[in-house]
Amino acid sequence: MSLDLISYAAFFLTMALTYAVMCLGLNIQWGQTGLFNVGIAAFVAIGAYASAILTTPDAPDRLGGFDLPIAIGWLGGALAAGLAAWFVGALTIRLRADYLAIATFGVAVSVQLCVLNIQPLTGGAFGIGFIPRPFNSLAGDPLAFGLANLALMAGLVLGLYLALQHLAKSPWGRVLRAIREDEVAAQALGKRPVRFRLQAFTIGGAIMGLAGAAQGHFIGFIAPDNYLPILTFQVWAMLIVGGSGNNRGAIIGAILVWGIWALSAAAVSACVPPEQQARAAALQIVMIGVGLCLILLLRPRGLIGERRSLLSTRKSHKP
């Protein structure tokens, strides 16, 4: 019994950590650079599908299926999503701030359409199955399998966290924050905002793709339904709750929000009669939306938030 509980906890934590990876990607875009991405689900989907197409065994009813190692799939997923992010960014970052938001919204709609309709490549509404899972040789022992996957995902999150912390402290990260706080001053010092923003957006998109690939390999099956707009909302809620600009906050927020989400979903399915469950689930989403607005109104820095930035010190000097 307790072993079951541990392997369930391992499954839960591994899932939460895949969201933490998405959250870290969003943090580079929004938290550190101030770029608003409404198409997170699209970049995650691109990563997941690219990786699945590269690594699944050859199937007669589908193009692709190159049977490559999982690591290549992860890399390919990150690369594909990074490319897509670069394209969207190059198109819109030089324009008004909210054109990027509108364009990413369009990407989310279009990617959803593509995975549904390009059936020969993506399997259409049925998705892609038989995606190789890491440590599949351990599959007979659920506990060892769960813990090994948890360790792999924790390693990925830790590695990304250290790399991103290093990036944030590096001259590159300082330029990003300088641009976010005072674009004109940064420009006067010879930094080109558009180029730095585009780099940050591309890296963030690639990390989201990596998250999608890792999640796809962990579950072993992907379908268009996994990448609906609600995924974007969840990741946003995670980052806002944890505190934008703070990588540790992004990880904690992901685990916390995923926990609340999973628990309330379990409560809904246990307590609400089946015919009312769709409505209860809708109410759950109302809560996320209202919560997002409340945090923006009441506690814009999130639970942890970024340590005092240049702007906030300057503002606090004002009378």
Binding site: A101, L116, N117, I285, V286, L296
Partner: protein
């Protein structure tokens, strides 16, 4: 190619145009892309449904279809009431959310994000209240009439086109010929200067919310009448609305209407040429092309 796609495109484009006028007005006055605008369409459609249901309950005679159309007097009456209710919804949303963020001097992108949260809450609230099952204003069936040239349209479709023309002309006169319209244009040019010149900027902002939401209610109700009413009605139209607003040039009412027709016609054309499943991608392609070739849109001022 079947010429019927022109009729379908015009009808869809009229609705996109009406919604895009609201987007472009709020964008040019409040200076942010309002992701909750699609929800005004859905709420408008459902409010009209609820009010017309209530009217029909009070006086059954009101639901009897008016000669060639599929609906009774309860729907036009309900539409008038729903326009006010949707406007009220927008004003309340502004008061509890956007006005507070504005007064704090929040960045544009925070407002965009708040509108994103609001749209999620409003849409799921509709799903909670009315469930995701499609609803209809009337169960009556309509026969399309021949218009010549291989075109057919139902009386409801023709009426919708006529209403759109009237509404657009009224809005255009309102903006160009009246005092409030001139104030609006002044605020969109420069809010600070307009304030100094004695224009009540907050009144203009309230007016813009009301007009935008009212137009959204009309567009939503017509979409509900011609297709069906769903909680995702507005969300699915949001990308076409943004594409049309940007293609027309932010702040331009005639631009938004013309661009709405262009988007509607391209969608209908794509359905014929490529297939119905790619319909929603059309507005994204248009959006990408505009941003690449002419980011300020057809009638917009250079940024």
């Amino acid at each position: 190619m079947n010429p019927q796609f022109i009729m379908d495109g015009l009808v869809a484009g009229a609705m996109i145009g009406l919604g895009a006028i609201g987007v472009t007005l709020t964008y040019s006055i409040l200076r942010f892309a309002n992701f909750a605008h699609g929800e005004f369409l859905s709420w408008g459609a459902y409010l009209a449904l609820a009010v017309s249901g209530a009217l029909g309950f009070l006086a059954t005679g009101l639901t009897r279809p008016i000669a060639p159309f599929s609906f009774g007097w309860s729907l036009p009456l309900a539409l008038v009431i729903a326009i006010f209710l949707t406007g009220l919804l927008a004003l309340v949303l502004d008061a509890v959310l956007f006005a507070r963020l504005r007064s704090r001097g929040s960045a544009v992108i925070i407002l965009v994000m708040a509108s994103f949260g609001a749209s999620l809450a409003l849409r799921s609230l509709l799903e909670f209240l009315f469930t995701s099952k499609p609803a209809y204003y009337t169960k009556a069936l309509q026969i399309a009439v021949r218009l010549g040239g291989g075109l057919r349209a139902t009386p409801d479709q023709l009426l919708s086109l006529g209403v759109t023309v009237v509404v657009v002309v009224v809005i255009h006169l309102l903006l160009t010929r009246t005092e409030i319209g001139r104030s609006m244009r002044a605020v969109s040019e420069n809010p600070a200067l307009a304030g100094i010149a004695g224009i009540d900027v907050r009144r203009v902002i309230r007016f813009v919310w009301f007009i935008g939401a009212g137009l959204a209610c009309i567009a939503g109700t017509m979409t509900g009448l011609l297709v069906q009413i769903r909680p995702y009605l507005g969300h699915d139209l949001l990308l076409p609305l943004f594409s049309a607003a940007i293609l027309g040039g932010i702040g331009s009412v005639p631009g938004a209407m013309i661009a709405g027709l262009i988007v509607g016609l391209s969608e209908a054309g794509a359905v014929q040429l490529v297939g119905a499943e790619w319909r929603s991608a059309v507005s994204f392609v248009i959006l990408v092309l505009v941003l690449l070739l002419r980011p300020r849109g057809l009638f917009g001022r250079p940024a």
